[in-house]
Symmetry: C2
Subunit: 456 residues, 2 copies
């Protein structure tokens, strides 16, 4: 290979500093998941194609990475499709496996497959990569990690209350103050659709309404009419154009607006339970907001819908989302299994924490000290100390080669190692170590015990 | 989908208990890697096919999972190969990407691609899954995790000394006493090949010699002659049939045996340096053994060769291995980059630790207490306490549904949750909590502060 090697577009190498930062965030998410009683599972990177295909719509099917069958795959290829050069139809006869597209479908498959071993309600978390053959662009990758927490097997709304608290707890631990946890409910949206008398126009309606801040009431109404929503319908939902006040006030407005819709009123009741309890229990740094334009995963969620917005000072879209889906495992034949869950957008959270300078300095710290290598005799003496320091959990290294001392110090410098330990004949004779602070330049002779104390 | 869903053969779902156990081992390996100055990197799950193909031999090429190009892949398929139904030749025109087969080739690719950002010598570790289209069998999977630590950019033998210490440190931390770290050197094997005058017979020779314990000296010699090794050659290496004693004694025997081979003597020198220093610095629980039959990765390693054997009480093959390869990055055009590294066999280590009962009981522990749900008013009171307990890092849960109390206690039982907290009208009135020890059955009323103390 003559040219410099590269990686596939949309994928990433992570350097030590990047891994350390991502691990810092993952560790905080994990420990909060566990504090809230979630337990980890892991599923295979690839699933049988039939497990994934047809679960994400036509577009999703296209974006799933397929794995070519091993061996003489053409021997079993469908001759008709091969003849016709029909790539789409040929796939199923030359590819039996596909890379995981998200963590939700594999989780549903896991629950159904292991239903007899699982103690329900089952609170699981899963932090694993997923793959999508999306067109790569800024912030969108073909391999990225999802961090999901879901509960399956209980319809209790206390789960929603806890999931809001979980978001608050994670972002508070990360020091990321000022996130907004937006909440809505699929049943509210159904109620609005009923009121405007056009459920097929619901998405157009919420998309237009979402622009209220930008284009004003008149602009929004104009767009709605262009999309075929009647003036009469718009008049009926007039209160949504002045949808301000506290969450309780908003809920009261909805209960008036949707009074004619049984499903809408069910949504109001659910929202009231969740919001009242969240507010009464209190949030640490996040704030809760009721956003009736929130419609993510419309065809998927059946109850609460969540989305987390980064603090307004950062230009970044959603950094998390989730909701309730009443029939999580129905696709695999297990009925009446309600699920509710949330997801953390690791890549975006990482960008936000970076932009706001919230990573602790210690995150990327490497070894505490580099022992300078003056030759095998000195190196052996150093290794004896290194062994004891490591046994005490202190990260230290010996420069492997007896090369120019300046080069060794430079190495410590480039790696941000704060101390150098110098061992020459004199130190060996005195059973001591010269410790040099590479920031202040200060140097002093110390015993092994003192070395331990200082580097600890 | 009517039938119960399943996963592809050779892959695994990991339950919460399994993830916890694996994470326990990974965490110990990671913290030791870091104590020894290694830094983590991560590379994409799939690489460009040209990065991987041809790097693992013909058999390896076959075992690499290929990813089908997205979209109309047949449009760019090679017409001739398609016509001829030649699966092997067609691959490169319908698949540009392939799943990682090991961590070493992606690491070499990483080093070459990022050579200008890397500060050498570069000590990296990497713990990620790899995929092989091997025939699945007991203990062999199509997806498994590798845990590798390598240093690139230094020929210093102190690295080998440290890698032996690293093995010792990891297995000691795991409480796995009695592992044997076997060491050999590619140059010793070259020396033996020179002495027996048949380098093409080297593998036959070492494979036969390795059976000494089982089939005795006569059996081994008979096999060697059958494989075409001359009696004369066998006589020359007679000392290897009685290769006992301390490591130092073995090294002396080799230095006599290989005195006519310059490369063999280089190997003796390297072995002596590594073994002397390891022995003088001391190992905690592992023992070092010189094994001249050790020949893993013969065409790959150029210096030291390592393999770790589980304690003899457990019937398990190697649980780790590694060695030095003088031209790690040459395949990607960067010459003179010596590398040395070791790998931990996570799956097998997990089996050994399980078999010997060395997992700490706390590994699979879940929540400390389950709050029994007696209704929304009681649940709200419970949630206030739960919030405070979690803020103190204590894992606690509320049973989400106000269902039969017996069922809730059963849930705690099945999940091995040691305490239940009961909140009724009386507790709310007294601002207290009834804490029930689910092992002893003892129950008492406590304040929130007392609850914190006990559950901590």
């Amino acid at each position: 290979m003559a040219s410099k090697p590269s990686i596939p577009k949309g994928t990433r190498d992570f350097s030590p500093a990047e891994v350390a930062k991502r691990q810092y965030i993952i560790q905080i998410i994990k420990s909060n998941f566990e504090k809230f009683g979630f337990q980890p599972i892991e599923t295979p990177s690839f699933e049988n194609s039939e497990t994934l295909m047809g679960k994400y719509g036509e577009e999703g099917d296209r974006l799933i990475f397929k794995i070519l069958n091993s061996g003489d795959f053409l021997a079993k290829a469908n001759a008709t499709h091969l003849e016709a050069k029909d790539s789409t139809k040929l796939i199923s006869s030359i590819s039996e496996k596909a890379l995981r597209y998200d963590l939700t479908v594999p989780f549903a498959r896991y629950v159904v497959q292991h239903q007899n071993e699982i103690e329900f309600p089952f609170k699981r978390y899963q932090i694993q990569p997923v793959w999508r053959a999306d067109r790569p662009q800024k912030g969108r990758f073909r391999e990225f990690s999802q961090c999901d927490a879901d509960v399956v097997g209980s319809k209790s709304l206390w789960q929603e209350v806890e999931l809001v608290q979980l978001y608050d707890s994670v972002f508070t631990t990360l020091g990321l103050e000022g996130v907004t946890i937006k909440i809505n409910n699929r049943k509210i949206l159904s109620g609005i659709a009923e009121v405007i008398g056009a459920s097929d126009k619901l998405i157009d309606f919420t998309v237009a309404l979402d622009k209220l801040d930008k284009i004003g009431e008149d602009g929004v109404k104009k767009e709605m009419i262009e999309k075929g929503i009647s003036e009469e319908a718009i008049t009926k939902v007039q209160p949504l154009f002045n949808f301000t006040g506290t969450i309780s006030e908003k809920i009261e407005k909805l209960s008036v607006l949707l009074s004619s819709s049984a499903e809408g009123m069910k949504g109001v009741e659910e929202l009231r339970f969740i919001c009242d309890n969240v507010i009464n229990l209190g949030l640490s740094t996040a704030s809760l907001d009721l956003d009736v334009t929130l419609a993510r995963g419309l065809n998927y969620y059946t109850g609460a819908i969540f989305e987390v917005a980064a603090p307004k000072t950062v230009a970044m879209g959603s950094i998390g989302g989730g909701g309730r889906y009443d029939d999580l495992t129905g696709i695999f034949g297990l009925k009446n299994m309600s699920g509710v869950g949330i997801s953390f957008g690791l890549d975006r959270i990482c960008l936000v924490i970076e932009e706001l300078g919230l990573f602790p300095e210690t995150v990327t710290s490497t070894s505490k000290a580099l022992f300078i290598n003056y030759g095998d005799k000195e190196a052996f003496y150093s290794m004896k100390a290194i062994k004891e320091l490591r046994a005490d959990g202190i990260k230290v290294e010996l420069y492997p080669d007896n090369t120019k001392v300046a080069k060794q110090f430079q190495h410590a410098d480039k790696r941000f190692i704060p101390f150098a330990v110098i061992v020459g004949e004199e130190e060996i004779k005195d059973n001591q170590y010269s410790l040099k602070d590479l920031v202040s330049g200060e140097q002093k002779k110390v015993s092994l015990e003192e070395l331990k104390e200082i580097l600890k």
